[in-house]
Amino acid sequence: MSEEKTIRQPETANPAVSIPAGDGPSQPRAWTAFQKFAFRVGFIYIVLLVVPPGVFSIPPDFSWFRLWIDTDWTSLHYRDLYDIARFNPSFPWLTQWLGIPRLAGHAIWVTLLAIASVGAFVWTLIDRKAREYNTLYYWALVMARYRAGIGIIGFGFTKLLPVQMPYPSEGLLNTDFGDFSGQKIYWMSIGIVPWYQVFAGIVEVLAGTLLFFRQTTVFGAALLFGALGSITWVNHAYDGGVQGYAFYFVLLGLYIFGYYVPRIHRLFILQQYTVPVDYWPTFPKRWQKGLRYGLKAFVIFLFLGVLFYLQLVDFLYDPYKQPSTPGVKALRGYYDVSEFKINGEEIPYSPLDIVRWQEAIFEKWTTLAYKVNKPTRLSLSNGGGNPIMDLERNFEITGTAGGRRVFHYYADTTTQMLYLQDKVPVGGDSDERGVPASTARQAAVTSGLSAGDWIDETAWERIGDERTKIHPRGINTRRNRGFARGPRPLTRHKMVLHYETADGQRVVLTGTNEHRDSLYIVLDRVERNYLLSRSSLEAGQYD
């Protein structure tokens, strides 16, 4: 980098006004001791924010850099880039050692402040010559701008092509409002208005894009601070669980916006003639210019161009929170349970019965949902992450009570058999980071029906490969690897049911439930006319 700098100053300065730039353009004004110390703290803080986590840990962990190598760049999945764009600092051992309380997920910011303060103190002792840090400040802003821009664009595209908050499945539409967690209620309240979600995504992607350019940085920072500040609050108010990552952007936004606060203060509050002075480095050599524009073009191409395309593919063919395999067409819909026999014994309908099904729903994807008045283990995760297999895509089960039972099925349409697995594992679901919510799960690894033996070879052949059941454009290396790895080894309740329907109005299910009781169930289709408007922007392909 060149040490020669231009000071961006107005060509036509008002002669009546003295420019508050100190000693003139050639010699920038010296900073006060306090300014220098504050800058050092801020600079270290920003470095800690923008460097992928693990780099500073002992021993260092370069897993983020591994992502670049492990990713198959010839066959990308949106999540490949999303993962690269999504990281935030973490010093769990230090936070613990300092004894900082959890602060609802915000302890890390205090830890970083402690590191930055100590670092700044040492820096102050060593560096006694520096008069000012204009150049370093510029680079700190560049780091913050690009880190925040890339991160928020990665986040924003999942809303711009609305898949982050899916429109509620038919099962969720038939669940009472009081049977949802706060997190679920907020997520669905955005899911029911996909166009609004698109708008929210545009705001985030726009904020990120504006941060890539110096001329528009102030607007990007203001938008970022406003939007993510609000999202942070939402996550606290609704127990969403993403408040830490949202606040990460608030800090970056504040740092960037802070650069402009003196100007705002002078122009509006003091109402004085305002001359903005920016110390921007110049890049006189060709390779420097080339590198600068090359890097910038690369970031924009990758995170605006390629990521948009990948997210579009995800939205069209494989929306990541809901199963993407089309369900059996003849079955899809909402049913009343007209007849229910278990082990040959008929149970009449009662809302209080703890065995009898009350209603049944075949989603447009491979899910059967029904309701029984019996307490069941709930999935309390926020439905995030990126499960590849339909069985593990859990938005339709998370944060939902009310006796809802939700099963994924493999359908053998030749013999009209459904092989069903409970979407809530026996040991409970994990939270969003994949940390076991229950120790019981450790013991609950493959047992009994969990292995491949519950569906025989020939049936598997007729069912076909789930991996290839979506549009070929939605298939990529990440998906292939996910299927090669297989589902997580969890114990799940299983049912095997045969279905029979003449015209789709009446469906007869026979088979065995998870306790190997024999079932005979007659379902009658009911046209549910929901008051809630249908989604006008539907993700996925189920035809």
Binding site: T12, L172, N174, F177, F180, G182, Y186, F268, D431
Partner: protein, 462 residues
């Protein structure tokens, strides 16, 4: 400072600018200054000795209404846009007259001063609007905690607007946050130096409100558009400065215009008026909103319901004209469950199709029976207001849904034990009903999670 105030008054207006200004001035003044006689009729009807928050709230949201004059709930429909078209035409005529007078009579107008006056009017009009709406969120009134009946309604049987309101209602802290932002935006408008910041805040906030109203089929999109146009106009004043300093990194002059007061009393009057404004629309309004808040949600009826009856009830037995009807989810007559609210409302779920009542804008109702928030935008439950006759052990039921205005009947009740209610009577259609109701120990997930410390690391079997 190296320059004097006179420097800026040199700016001269050319003919085209003057004409455009005359039009904008006329149009925005017609929008912001209450000229509608119906509005004054309303203001005069207020009992100023017993001023309620609802009165201040209603004063705060004046919009000129020529076309639409029925006292209706949805007064901000597309008709309002027609009103705006009228204003545009009137403003056009005024511009023409003004230009004619200016030309013929050679009157000299101080456009700088007029522009300043227009900005002052808009700043205060906008501040009134956003502060009033902010206050009903700062004291979480706008979206109250969902009622038990709402909790026991299928998600798909709620309208998008209702879901928006219920979703906000479960998180009062978020509502307070939104309200504080809105009030802050309004307060910033009261000071010349912070006007641009306030206008920017309101533009972002109400831009969001506007789009939310469109997305959730709310009833106040037009009103937020009304406020937005003012915020946009106010920010326009500074936009060139903002672009110069922040985008182009070039110097910019601040806004140097000052209204010069010739007499000391004018300055005193200014301060007096401003103080009165702050006292009435911020202080008094805030206090009155607080009073409403302490009295409980104004969206729900005030009269308490049947003592110790609140809850969700399973309908164990149901007789219709003497005939017993077993549990049935498809029967349009058979009651499936009944909710008794804390207040004098009960709701019954049946399979009958219900024509929903929609009310998507903010209205304060004094009479319990008019407080329809609990049923607005819902289907699946029948809502009855009831009056208790304790002597006769009878509930006088009245269907709250205006689509079923004639549905009134009397139910007698017996309470064999604390959790059982037996009700019997003859419906408005002349059918005799008897129902045995058992209170269920229903647990609501959101409340259970709050009780047990949140989602994180939690395990629930419910």
């Amino acid at each position: 400072m190296a320059f004097s105030l006179e420097q800026t008054t040199v700016v001269s207006w050319n003919h085209r600018e003057k004409v455009i200004f005359r039009f904008i001035f006329s149009y925005l003044m017609l929008q912001a200054v209450p000229l509608d006689w119906k509005y004054y009729q309303h203001v005069l009807s207020i009992n100023w000795l017993q001023l309620q928050f609802a009165d201040i709230f209603n004063i705060s949201r004046y919009t000129p209404q020529f076309v639409h004059h029925i006292k209706s709930v949805d007064f901000w429909g597309l008709n309002t846009l027609l009103d705006w078209l009228f204003l545009v035409i009137i403003a056009g005529v005024l511009t023409w007259i003004w230009s004619w007078i200016a030309q013929k009579k050679g009157l000299k107008w101080n456009y700088d001063r007029l522009y300043y006056v227009l900005r002052v009017v808009l700043r205060y009009r906008l501040a009134i609007g956003v502060i009033a709406y902010g206050l009903i969120k700062v004291f979480p009134l706008q979206a109250p905690n969902p009622s038990l009946s709402n909790f026991n309604t299928n998600y798909g049987d709620l309208s998008a607007w209702k879901i928006f309101s219920l979703s906000l209602g479960i998180a009062p802290s978020f509502e307070v946050f939104l309200g504080s932002l809105e009030v802050l935006g309004g307060l910033l408008l009261l000071y010349r130096r912070t006007t641009a910041i306030g206008a920017f805040l309101i533009l972002v906030f109400h831009g969001n409100v506007f789009l939310s109203n469109l997305a959730y089929e709310g009833g106040e999109a037009i009103y937020s558009l009304y406020l937005l146009q003012m915020a946009a106009f106010l920010l326009l004043h500074d936009i060139h400065r903002i672009i110069l300093v922040f985008s182009l990194a070039k110097p910019a002059q601040p806004d140097n215009y000052r209204l010069v007061y010739a007499h000391a009393w004018q300055q005193k009057l200014r301060i007096g008026l401003k103080s009165a404004f702050v006292f009435f629309f911020v202080g008094l309004a805030g206090y009155k909103a607080y009073v409403v808040y302490t009295e409980g949600p104004y969206q729900y009826p005030e009269t308490p319901g049947l003592t110790n009856a609140r809850g969700l009830y399973n309908v164990r037995e149901f007789r219709f004209n003497g005939r017993e009807i077993p549990y049935d989810k498809k029967d349009t007559v058979r009651w499936q469950n009944v909710v008794f609210e804390e207040w004098s409302t009960l709701s019954i779920k049946t399979a009958a199709k219900i024509q929903p009542w929609h009310a998507t804008s903010e209205v304060f109702h004094r009479d319990d029976r008019d407080r329809l928030y609990e049923l607005a935008g819902t289907a699946g439950r029948h809502y009855y207001h009831y009056r208790i006759d304790t002597a006769a052990r009878a509930l006088h039921l009245e269907n709250k849904n205006p689509h079923y205005a004639g549905d009134q009947f009397v139910l007698h009740y017996k309470r064999p034990d604390a959790h059982t209610l037996v009700v019997f009577g003859t419906t408005a259609a002349g059918d005799s009903v008897t129902a045995v109701l058992d209170r269920l120990d229903k647990k609501y997930l959101r409340e259970e999670l709050q009780r047990t410390g949140g989602r994180r690391g939690n395990e629930l079997i419910l």
